[in-house]
């Protein structure tokens, strides 16, 4: 039983999915961040023998959440490719197969710091690429959280936030999470092949932890 979590952000209806994706149901849009395609390929090129399959696993997860939400648009908040290795033929192969499964999906990428090095995706993938910020109703969309207070709430990624929880019985766990701060709503990294960053929500932030197949508000 998948348990997404619904809430409202700046007047927009929002659903947080445990696949680490955010849905804007009124816009038929799914938002993800920090996809890091080709990270395993980049590691292999450096001589680290990482098995293949990570990208396909991530794409299968994307299939699941696209099918559940019926979204017609996909918005990627930066770091679609980990490095230029992400656009090499071998790394691109599963991505192209995935694109063929969703031919009419409208995809927009807001450039992130990794995209700057990796370069834009090949035209064949039909991905619109824009610079931040991208306005979306009352929301601004960017890769990185705003450096200064803004009037619009910024949807963003970049930080790979995780939350640490503890409880009775000395139980502890660290989970990827969505974080609502004063000026930003930060998504967890979509790629499963990221360790989750050292960035954690602070006192006053709201955190929504991805716990298996549920999203749970932690306070």
């Amino acid at each position: 039983m998948t348990e997404p979590l619904a809430l409202a952000l700046a007047g927009e209806r929002v659903v947080l999915h445990p696949e680490r994706a955010l849905e804007l149901p009124d816009r038929c849009t799914l938002v993800i961040a920090d996809v890091h395609w080709g990270k395993a390929t980049a590691l292999r090129a450096q001589g680290v023998p990482v098995p293949a399959g990570g990208t396909s696993y991530d794409l299968a997860r994307l299939d699941t959440v696209l099918a559940r939400t019926g979204a017609t648009s996909l918005l990627v908040l930066g770091d679609l490719a980990h490095s230029r290795h992400g656009w090499e033929p071998r790394a691109l192969q599963p991505v192209q197969a995935w694109r063929a499964r969703w031919p009419s999906l409208d995809i927009t990428l807001v450039r992130g710091n990794h995209d700057a090095h990796a370069g834009d995706p090949p035209a064949a993938l039909e991905i619109r690429v824009v610079d931040a910020p991208l306005a979306l109703g009352a929301l601004a969309c960017a890769h990185e959280p705003p450096a200064h207070p803004t009037t619009r709430l910024t949807l963003c990624g970049h930080l790979h936030p995780t939350v640490r929880l503890s409880g009775r019985g000395a139980d502890r766990v660290r989970l990827p999470c969505f974080v609502h701060t004063a000026h930003a709503f930060i998504l967890p990294a979509f790629s499963a092949f990221t360790g989750g960053g050292a960035w954690h929500p602070a006192v006053g932030d709201r955190a929504y932890a991805v716990a298996g197949d549920a999203v749970i508000e932690t306070f």
Binding site: R44, A45, V48, V50, P51, G54, S166
Partner: protein
């Protein structure tokens, strides 16, 4: 020629021991072997003067005198690079006195670039080196020519290397050298072990010529050792747990007062810093003559302390095991041991630092830091009298090291499948290596294994006409930097703003400091200024010390021998026999244990149960030592959690383990269902180690050794984050996408056999299965459970749904330590 050497001994006022003559004669006959004896009993010259006598004989027989120094002929392998300089000095003495045209140099990670460059062209006659530096030499394509005149390899402190991957690495290097120089003689020096014959066989390798096994030479029999301990005047205020206290400082000072020279051994670096500081604070007038020595201090600092110890400039040295090995200095008057010695061999080794001359008594004074350590000291003395000395078991086929070694062979001129198999099987570690395992390792180094077959860009070695060679310059460079099997956290160098180097601390400690924090290091109060490019910059502090760095590392477990001695000692106490000063002292505490709970009989298994704010606790006491308890606790947690969804966190020590859960665990039902049954043991223990993520932890070392994780290039200032993956993440990825990878199997095997001692767990369960369970509900902590109750290092096992656990938990607010303040870290790890 015997006479010249004997004369040299006589001139120094010595006379060769019979065991030394035995080794010299055996060497002259072309034999190899192992010499075992206590530290400081003449093992060095027993091994060294064989080759020296041979060279003198050759000169006397009219061998041509080489122009300049003689070519490379003796390799001396030492486990610690810090020992190299001392060894060099000791070896040079007779060579100079006897007028041999030999050069003696060392080559380790500490050797200067200029010396290395010179050695690249010509090695000295005798080279003192570490297993890692030797392997680096074997990476050279011309290594066969380098070692063309090699006569003998001497491995010092073999007991230190024997049961580690470094030992297996040494075996592999020796196999390579024997392939280059058939007839090479190998001599090992070892402390006394429970299994010296296996130690010898491992060193000498598997002979395929049917030659007789090497010689086993026993050195001087151990001197008489007196073990004494300081005993607190009252147990009322003596702590029940923990290691970082200086309650017995006044008594330690009183003992030091009366001694000429002294070494105070500690078990951890934190303890070492604490005691050095405390002694200097108590006696500022001793400051000039008191020094600190541990492995994280800069090598220059350590050298100056060692020199000072030799010259008599320092009267008192507070040290960790960094002074256990080889470092040569005259015996001191007094050896003190802070904390439990944890093993009989270790106690003997440290005691051996006092009263060296034959016939004199070695004396060691133990300083317990918590109540139960009194029991351990008493037990250690009994075990020592019974000569129950620990064994060390060599490794069986570590595949991560095999992958690394194959790249070494490829780089050092290449190998064929057949030549590699024959050479590898000549080591004891890989004697049982199957062709399938070798093929897998070759495939892994060539293509990264099955799942990477489609990725030709990943290749460390390539095959051309059946010969495997290194693939490219980048792979070669990475391999050379990655050689070795020592895995440590990223070390941050600690330096004064004015430039002086002090030593290294672990990254995790620095991460918890904020500018202005004061911490204790190298016996000095230092103020943290900033960290930049892997250097923590500090200045001398004006304010008071708040923190002592904690260095990570495995906690030292009680040896099997000592664990069983502890059980015997407790049984004596239960019967009212308090016949040592330590047991007299701890008597009130044991009586309290009997009052609040029980002291279990040998045929009983005690389980204490209680509830606190933290949750429901079960304390189980098999008294089998930490390693067995780690396995047993995971097994207990797994078996109980099969009955109902539950989350356990568990802690272990040498006496028992604790299972803590948010809800009450169904213990009675579990006992009924066969909690202690030896049936399905392997299945259950494998399941439990997966569930408790023990194999995931072990994978860190394996990933590093097999070259999955790269430590980075030296001097590279920026981190390698872009191409780094944590071993935990790699473990997950492999488990998901390449579950048959042999390195995963190795992680499991290492945890089962080495960490958890699965075979011992089986024997322990057989014992527990027929024991009567004494389940006691306690309302206050007992002396036995208290150390577990306060232990914060925990493993976890759960059968609950993650979402259910998360709903029960609350978020830990991220608190940044306010400026200038930090909590004192505990020092439970070495």
């Amino acid at each position: 020629m015997t006479q010249v050497v004997e004369d040299w001994f006589t001139q120094r006022g010595w006379s060769p021991f019979p065991f030394q003559r035995e080794v010299w004669d055996a060497y002259a006959r072309g034999e190899s072997g192992l010499i075992h004896a206590a530290t400081g009993t003449g093992k060095t010259y027993a091994a060294w003067l064989g080759p020296v006598r041979e060279a003198l004989q050759e000169l006397a027989d009219g061998a041509p005198t080489p122009r300049g120094k003689a070519p490379m002929r003796v390799l001396w392998i030492t486990p610690l690079r810090a020992l190299a300089a001392d060894t060099e000095r000791a070896l040079r003495e007779p060579v100079d006195a006897l007028g041999l045209p030999w050069s003696i140099e060392s080559r380790t990670g500490d050797t200067k670039a200029a010396v290395r460059a010179r050695q690249r062209h010509r090695l000295p006659t005798a080279l003192v080196t570490t297993p890692e530096s030797l392997t680096l030499l074997l990476c050279r394509p011309d290594h066969a020519a380098l070692f063309a005149d090699l006569r003998c390899v001497i491995v010092d402190e073999w007991h230190e290397l024997l049961s580690s991957k470094r030992g297996a690495q040494t075996e592999l290097a020796l196999a390579r050298l024997r392939a280059v120089r058939p007839g090479l003689r190998t001599w090992g020096l070892s402390a006394t072990l429970g299994n010296v014959a296996i130690a010898r066989d491992t060193l000498l390798g598997v002979s395929n010529t049917g030659a007789p096994a090497g010689r086993l030479v026993q050195g001087l029999v151990p001197k008489e050792v007196a073990v004494e301990s300081l005993v607190p005047e009252t147990m009322d205020t003596f702590p029940w747990a923990g290691h970082l206290n200086v309650k017995l400082l006044p008594q330690v000072i009183a003992r030091l007062e009366g001694a000429g020279s002294a070494i105070v051994f500690t078990n951890t670096r934190s303890q070492c810093e604490l005691w050095f500081q405390s002694i200097c604070t108590a006696r500022p007038d001793w400051f000039e003559h008191t020094a600190i020595h541990h492995g994280s201090l800069d090598v220059k600092v350590r050298r100056s302390v060692e020199d000072g110890l030799r010259s008599g400039r320092f009267r008192i040295v507070v040290s960790t095991s960094s002074l256990d090995l080889g470092v040569d200095f005259s015996p001191v008057d007094l050896v003190m041991q802070v904390g439990s010695p944890k093993g009989v061999a270790r106690l003997l080794q440290r005691a051996g630092r006092s009263g060296h001359s034959p016939g004199r008594v070695s004396r060691i004074v133990c300083v317990p830091t918590n109540a139960l350590e009194l029991v351990e000291v008493s037990a250690a003395r009994d075990a020592m009298r019974a000569m129950a000395i620990e064994s060390r078991d060599p490794l069986d086929r570590p595949l991560d090291l095999l992958v690394q070694h194959l790249v070494t062979l490829a780089l050092g001129g290449g190998f064929t499948r057949e030549s590699a198999l024959a050479e590898l099987r000549s080591t004891r570690a890989y004697a049982q290596l199957t062709p399938a395992e070798l093929d897998w390792a070759i495939d892994f180094a060539t293509r990264g294994g099955d799942t990477l077959r489609a990725y030709p860009e990943y290749a460390r070695i390539v095959e051309t006409d059946g010969v495997f060679l290194i693939s490219n310059a980048q792979a070669a460079r990475r391999h050379v930097l990655n050689i070795g099997t020592i895995v440590s956290d990223a070390a941050i160098s600690v330096r004064y703003l004015t430039g002086g180097r002090i030593g290294t601390v672990e990254e995790s400690f620095v991460a918890r400091l904020t500018p202005g924090d004061v911490f204790l290091f190298s016996g000095k109060a230092l103020e943290f200024v900033r960290v930049r490019d892997l250097v923590a910059w500090v200045r001398k502090a004006k304010s008071k010390v708040r923190a002592i760095p904690r260095w990570a590392g495995a906690r030292m477990p009680l040896s099997t021998e000592l664990a069983s001695a502890v059980r015997a000692t407790l049984e004596a106490a239960r019967n009212g026999r308090f016949d040592t000063p330590e047991l007299q002292a701890i008597r009130p505490l044991l009586e309290l244990q009997a009052e609040r709970s029980v002291i279990p009989r040998p045929e009983e298994l005690l389980i204490e149960r209680c509830e606190t704010r933290e949750g429901h606790h079960l304390f189980v006491y098999p008294f089998e030592g930490r390693l067995v308890h780690e396995g047993l606790s995971a097994l207990f947690a797994y078996r109980i959690a099969q009955l109902a969804p539950i989350t356990f966190s568990f802690a272990c020590n040498d006496y028992g383990f604790e299972l803590l859960s948010p809800e009450r665990a169904p213990l009675e039902e579990a006992l009924e269902a066969g909690l202690l049954s030896p049936d399905h043991l392997l299945h259950d223990i494998t399941q439990s180690l997966n569930a408790a993520e023990l194999a995931r932890r072990q994978f860190r070392e394996i990933a590093r050794v097999a070259g999955l994780i790269f430590g980075g290039y030296p001097g590279q200032q920026k981190s390698m984050k872009q191409v780094q993956a944590s071993s935990g993440l790699l473990f997950d990825v492999f488990t998901k996408f390449d579950p048959d990878n042999l390195l995963l199997h190795q992680a499991q095997r290492e945890v089962l056999e080495r960490q958890l001692e699965a075979s011992r767990i089986g024997r322990v369960l057989e014992r527990l299965h027929v024991s009567a369970v004494r389940l006691v509900d306690v309302d206050r902590p007992t002396p036995l459970c208290f150390p577990l109750l306060v232990d914060r290092t925990r493993q976890k096992l759960t059968t609950e749904k993650l979402a259910d656990r998360v709903r029960r938990m609350t978020m830990q607010a991220e608190k940044r330590a306010p400026r200038g303040r930090i909590t004192v870290l505990d020092g439970r790890r070495t």
